[in-house]
Subunit: 80 residues, 2 copies
C-alpha cells in the first residue's frame, strides 16, 4: 500500500527555506508570487493492513517534529 506523508511547518513558524525560494523566484523574473512554503514529502510502501494509528505514530516519533511541524497522511488514490 502506497502512503504519502506531507510534513509542513506550522502556520506562523518562520520558513527561511521558503523565503529563499521566494526571493530566488522573484530574481528569476517570476511575478505575482505571494508566498512560498517548503515542506517534506515522505512516500512509504507499507503492508496492506497498516492502520492510520500506526502511521500517525511513525509521524510523531520520527517523521515530523511536532513542536514546529504538522503532518498529513494521504493514502494512494486520495490525491488527484
Amino acid at each position: 500500500m502506497k502512503i504519502r506523508i506531507l510534513v509542513r511547518l506550522k502556520p506562523g513558524v518562520l520558513d527561511p527555506q521558503g523565503r529563499a525560494v521566494h526571493h530566488a523566484l522573484d530574481g528569476l523574473g517570476f511575478a505575482g508570487i505571494e508566498d512560498v512554503r517548503v515542506g517534506r514529502m515522505i512516500e512509504l510502501e507499507v503492508a496492506d493492513g497498516t492502520t492510520d494509528e500506526t502511521l500517525a505514530k511513525m509521524c510523531e516519533q520520527l517523521l515530523a517534529n511536532m513542536v514546529i511541524e504538522d503532518y498529513v497522511i494521504e493514502r494512494a488514490g486520495e490525491q488527484g
Copy 2:
C-alpha cells in the same frame, strides 16, 4: 491560487535519506515497511492566472534538479 509542487528523486536514483528513514522506522519497531522515499513539497501562493507553463519553468529553473528529480504540479482542489 494555491499550488503544490512535489519533487521526488527519479526512479533508480539512490535515496540515502529514504534509506535512513526506513532503517530508523525498522529500529523503532514498525514492521512491514517495504520502501521509503523522501522528497520535497513546495507550496506556492501565486496569481490566479498563472499558467502550467510558468509553473513548469519555475520547476525546471529552480525548484527541481532535472538531472535526478521529477516534479508534479497539483492545483488546490485536485488532491483529496
